[in-house]
Symmetry: C2
Amino acid sequence: MSVRGSLVVISGFSGVGKGTVIRQLLESEKGYALSVSATTRGMRAGETDGVHYFFRTEEEFRRMIEQDELLEHACYCNHYYGTPRAFVEEKLAAGVHVLLEIDTQGARQIRRSYPDALLVFIMPPDAQELRRRLTGRGTEEKAVIRERLQRAAGEADVIEEYDYILVNDQPDACARRLHELIGCQQYRVSRNAEQIRRIRSEIKAFESV
Amino acid sequence: MSVRGSLVVISGFSGVGKGTVIRQLLESEKGYALSVSATTRGMRAGETDGVHYFFRTEEEFRRMIEQDELLEHACYCNHYYGTPRAFVEEKLAAGVHVLLEIDTQGARQIRRSYPDALLVFIMPPDAQELRRRLTGRGTEEKAVIRERLQRAAGEADVIEEYDYILVNDQPDACARRLHELIGCQQYRVSRNAEQIRRIRSEIKAFESV
């Protein structure tokens, strides 16, 4: 009915496997695109501009914010990250579902500009697994672990702002459930305003006959 | 994750085939139950008490309203119709999805008591088909047709109160889409309050270690 793609926000605790689930979905199903973020942090070994990130200077990034070229943006560890609007808009208009792997702050910004966006929070299968992923293998600095735990606690506080929770027990099963969820979006009333408008005017036309 | 069943409201214009879609779903999938309405209208040939309706006197019906035994109720053509609460509650608690075939007024009452209910509006495939179904084959009284058209116009005015629209192009395909929609309900954040609470307390426990 609706030909426009769905905008899908994927969030979840550090290490929960969001990236793997997304990769699985992109590999197994057609009609999806992953949004590439812009960032001011330096390019790392193995990264490619325009594939992993759009690498930008702070000046360029600030200009993008001013000219409203970003759907959302945030700052971590003194670096900016943001979602370029043009790519997302272009794909949605072409009927492609766009996946955004962003945090809870970004999700909130997206919700404001796209009330119809689908917000999905990926959960770990159990607490032990979450602990392992958050605290690492004991080789990391305490300060790093503490920061990660605080961030997870902050994220857990706002899960209610999301639409759905998916448990990442197995990445392929989780990707399949995500695909089903996204498939159902086309039936949302808010996505079918044109069809509703049409049926109303048709019923009115019958009445006048 | 959540073991409770989903409460699913099915509405749609007169003659759109809601009943056929529901029957198709009940036949092809397990874990569903159709709510049986109570009514004060007389039993017709071929109808069975407790199967098609719970046939009640007006006095009995009014007592059910007073004792809050109905989830919703409405009056048409001088007869009362309502949804008995006990059956719905029992099935939901047993993890069974309960289908309610009710009108837009009833849907609104359900939404108030069950914010988590899934409200689905079934649409005709096209205007010609809708016209045929609403106006009949020219053998019906004009007053009946006029009333049906007015009612359809009233229903069309409140479609935005529903969550999803499904087009009944083919009853089996429509039932399959309905099944998918209902299957996704278990992932809704509002259905997983307990899991969210647990993960929060677990993260807090990690922090204190």
